[in-house]
């Protein structure tokens, strides 16, 4: 019982990172109807910039803030310079560009940070010595995990305030719902999309730093699996539902953690365990999708082409 709680807590904090990146995916999907295949690599690039700044002596939090600001600009530039012109070409072109961007950013990271192939040491954002934990009903919850979860929850809360309570959030929701009508009420749809990309890039920068902090390492390959699991989380929750992304991310983290710690003396433990945790997680998502084709909380509106 104690262990179960422990696994759930661990899962929640990893899952919260998935949830955050998934939110970035949802923000772009709602605006454009496309999945940003480069989301993980955008996060990777920002995280490497953070690492570089920190390496040059900038305090970690300041480094994250600077790199998030750069990400904001970079995300906007990606939209203005690549995605929007591509969108004018054909409906599918942005997807191709995103895949090209995925490859380009990944190798650019390798070019600019040659040692990132093997992994660069990244400082933890929170105390992470063996003794740094609090005990909750007997389960040991590491401070760094609590910290990550807290940061994500606060970020998520801020995002929800942005979506629901601010004018720009309202504009984002109108664009997601019906871009033509949004223009008709005077929403500058292009600028809103640009903002969405910028926001997604910032989310990536924060998520990337959190992930690297937990791993105390950042390498070229580290964001790809995060992207995949976040994409899975967003799919599970429904690609156009921010709330769904959060719930999807957290549940995916918990599922992974539970499957990864499947007891050895239980049936089929030969097939369920740490090595197959992702397989099992994906199978569960597939089953959910078969029952609910647009995710748990996604709207089943006719897809935009």
């Amino acid at each position: 019982m104690k262990e179960l709680l422990q696994y759930i807590l661990d899962g929640l904090s990893i899952g919260s990172i998935y949830a955050l990146i998934a939110l970035g995916l949802v923000v772009i999907y709602r605006g454009t109807g496309h999945i940003n295949f480069a989301q993980g690599e955008m996060a990777l690039f920002s995280t490497l910039v953070t690492w570089w700044l920190h390496d040059k002596g900038v305090p970690l939090l300041l480094a994250i803030a600077i790199s998030a600001a750069l990400a904001f600009v970079g995300g906007a530039l990606i939209d203005v310079g690549l995605m929007r012109p591509a969108g004018r070409r054909s409906a599918f072109a942005p997807v191709v560009v995103a895949i090209g961007l995925f490859q380009g950013l990944n190798s650019l990271s390798g070019l600019l940070f040659p040692k990132s192939g093997q992994g660069l040491p990244f400082p933890s954002l929170f105390p992470n010595k063996p003794k740094d934990f609090v005990s909750i009903f007997g389960a040991a919850w590491r401070i760094e995990r609590i910290g990550v979860l807290a940061v994500v929850l606060v970020t998520t809360a801020l995002l929800f305030v942005l979506f629901q309570k601010t004018k720009i959030g309202l504009a984002m929701r109108t664009v997601a719902n019906d871009a033509t009508s949004a223009k008709l009420v005077g929403v500058p749809t292009n600028r809103i999309l640009m903002f969405s990309w910028a926001l997604a890039a910032v989310i990536g920068a924060i998520g990337g730093a959190l992930k690297a902090g937990i791993d105390t390492n950042v390498s070229i390959g580290s964001m790809f699996s995060v992207f995949l699991l976040s994409a899975a989380a967003a799919t599970l929750g429904g690609l156009d539902s921010p709330g769904g992304a959060v719930i999807g991310g957290l549940s995916l983290g918990v599922i992974e953690s539970l499957v990864g710690n499947y007891p050895h003396d239980w049936p089929a433990s030969d097939w369920i365990g740490i090595k197959t945790k992702t397989v099992v997680a994906f199978l569960i998502i597939l089953i959910v999708l078969l029952v609910r084709p647009s995710g748990l909380f996604g709207s089943s509106r006719v897809e935009r082409v």
């Binding site: 019906d178 949004a182 008709l184």
Partner: protein
């Protein structure tokens, strides 16, 4: 009286297809102008061209200022609001959010009081203010579309077939509302309508659009007395 909207030689279309072939139109401040025309004549296209939603050429002056090169969202903030054909409400947003989205171009602090004003005018919307717009009835959505357009405090309201799909009684009420807005709030209206009889009742100025050309324009009385028009549009 001066023309709030002046259109000269306006041409527009979709890609290679030209639908409007140089139309002229004047809408006087404080009046209700009505465009009549058969299906496919280009009425919707004309409104879209005025509001900048499609590429156009010619002259479009609003309030003495050329808006031919202006982006649609700028045109809205200049004071032209459009109720598109098929309403175009944000179905996933609540009624309240729809109304607030209508006020997007405004930067003053009277949004809340305007909200109250239009909820008073359309009490049915007030009862449903936290309901998603997609769950409203057709008539309610039409009201919402109009109320949303009014939230931008427009000088000119472009209204595309507001009676589409509404029951006769509701249509009548809707036209009364439009007339009231015109008379009490001094709102200038450019109305596209199939329901010629009702539209003529509230119109100050009428023009007939046929395959992308204005073929007749004048006062409602003059238009209504034209035999050809009577046969084609008034069913008598």
């Amino acid at each position: 009286m001066s023309a709030l909207l002046t259109v000269r030689g306006l041409s527009a279309g979709y890609g290679p297809i030209e639908v409007l072939h140089g139309v002229d139109l004047d809408v006087q401040e404080g009046q209700v102008a009505v465009i009549l025309g058969a299906n496919g004549a280009g009425k919707t296209t004309m409104l879209r061209a005025i509001s900048g939603m499609i590429p156009r050429t010619g002259v479009v002056d609003f309030n003495g200022q050329s808006i031919i090169k202006t982006a649609p969202e700028r045109i809205v903030s200049l004071g032209v609001a459009q109720v598109p054909q098929g309403r175009g409400t944000f179905t996933d947003l609540t009624v309240d959010d729809n109304m607030r989205a209508g006020a997007y171009v405004r930067h003053d602090h009277e949004v809340v009081s305007d909200l109250a004003l239009w909820y008073e005018t359309f009490p049915r919307l007030k009862d449903r203010r936290s309901q998603k717009a997609g769950t409203l009835s057709g008539g309610e959505q039409q009201m919402l579309a109009i109320a949303r357009a009014l939230m931008s405090r427009p000088k000119l309201l472009l209204c595309d077939e507001p009676s589409l799909g509404l029951a006769p009684l509701i249509t009548k009420a809707l036209f009364q509302t439009i007339q009231r807005l015109n008379e009490q709030h001094g709102l200038t209206v450019l109305l596209v309508e199939q329901n010629a009889n009702l539209a003529l009742d509230i119109a100050h100025h009428v023009c007939l659009l046929e395959t992308g050309l204005i073929i007749a324009a004048g006062s409602p009385a003059a238009i209504a007395s034209d035999d050809a028009v009577r046969r084609a549009y008034l069913g008598a």
